[in-house]
């Protein structure tokens, strides 16, 4: 790192801390790991150049908002309805449960994109419904209900697949 001032060090720390969730979030929007990676890099490199993070109160929510904008801008430039890249892994599975990881990926892919964003933001981004509502521009109630719908769908999708696999 060329600039080793406190601001850059803080941005690096934030990158290590929130990078994985931000990457997953960008991946859930763009549908492609490479583009998601580019979007996250773009956000952090801009932050390092401008050094404007000190004035931000809620840094985590701000990072998710920036990543969302970058990913959406990228999706606007390209094919907005591009299918998700479900061939490459999204997660590090517990106990090497790669089948479970693939199952989760497929279930996330089956969700509508707005529900998928809310699920990712709440579970892996650990944002509150209030923070998510600010981010996506919806009321907290709408976000919460969207989350519950998404969670139920996700569970049905995952366990239905597991049951069908067990039966077959």
């Amino acid at each position: 790192m060329h600039r080793t001032d406190g601001n850059t060090a803080e941005i690096e720390f934030l990158y290590r801390q929130h990078g994985p969730a931000l990457l997953l979030f960008a991946h859930a929007i763009t549908g492609e790991r490479g583009r998601a990676q580019d979007a996250v890099h773009q956000v952090f490199l801009k932050l390092i150049e401008k050094g404007s993070l000190r004035q931000v109160a809620d840094k985590k929510a701000y990072l998710f908002a920036c990543t969302r904008n970058a990913a959406l801008n990228d999706s606007k430039l390209r094919d907005r309805n591009a299918p998700l890249d479900t061939d490459s892994a999204w997660f590090i599975p517990p106990d090497r449960d790669y089948a479970g990881e693939q199952n989760l990926r497929r279930a996330l892919e089956a969700l509508p994109h707005d529900q998928r964003q809310v699920i990712v933001l709440h579970i892996w981004g650990e944002l509150t419904f209030s923070q998510i509502s600010d981010l996506v521009g919806l009321s907290s109630n709408t976000v919460a209900s969207r989350y519950r719908y998404a969670l139920a769908k996700l569970r049905d999708s995952m366990f239905a697949k597991e049951n069908s696999c067990a039966n077959s």
Partner: protein
């Protein structure tokens, strides 16, 4: 309200950790520069070696005819009529002949047969055939 089932399911989902992103490009830049330098240095070294080899070969191939010419110049039999007299050939001739006079004679009385174009005769040949009455 989240049900206990929801909470358990959330806990299960959280066990799947998102993949770590690649390092920021700025952090990698110095490593990349080093990585770029290494092949560049190897390429430059290879080019330098090739140039040296090419130069050596070029010098050798140029030197070979020169030595050959010098060797030939040392041999008076190799002196041809059309070959211009140079200091080198004169020196070579002097080394082979017993005396300076012999060398000068050799050079002076060498037959110089300059080929004439077709249909032309030399003045000496014309004069030789003419019967001049004095």
């Amino acid at each position: 309200m989240p049900t206990p089932d929801d909470e358990r399911f959330e806990a299960y989902l959280k066990q799947f950790r998102p993949l770590v992103p690649e390092p920021l490009p700025m952090v990698e830049r110095s490593h990349r520069a080093r990585r770029r330098f290494a092949p560049g240095a190897w390429a430059a070294a290879a080019v330098a070696v090739l140039v040296l080899v090419a130069l050596t070969l070029h010098i050798r191939t140029n030197r070979a005819p020169v030595t050959e010419t010098i060797g030939n110049a040392g041999n008076p039999e190799h002196l041809q009529d059309s070959q211009p007299l140079t200091m080198r050939s004169a020196n070579a001739l002097m080394a082979k002949t017993p005396s300076f006079k012999a060398m000068v004679d050799d050079m002076a009385f060498r037959s110089q047969t300059v080929p004439l174009p077709k249909g032309k005769r030399s003045a000496v040949a014309v004069l030789r055939k003419e019967k001049i009455k004095l």
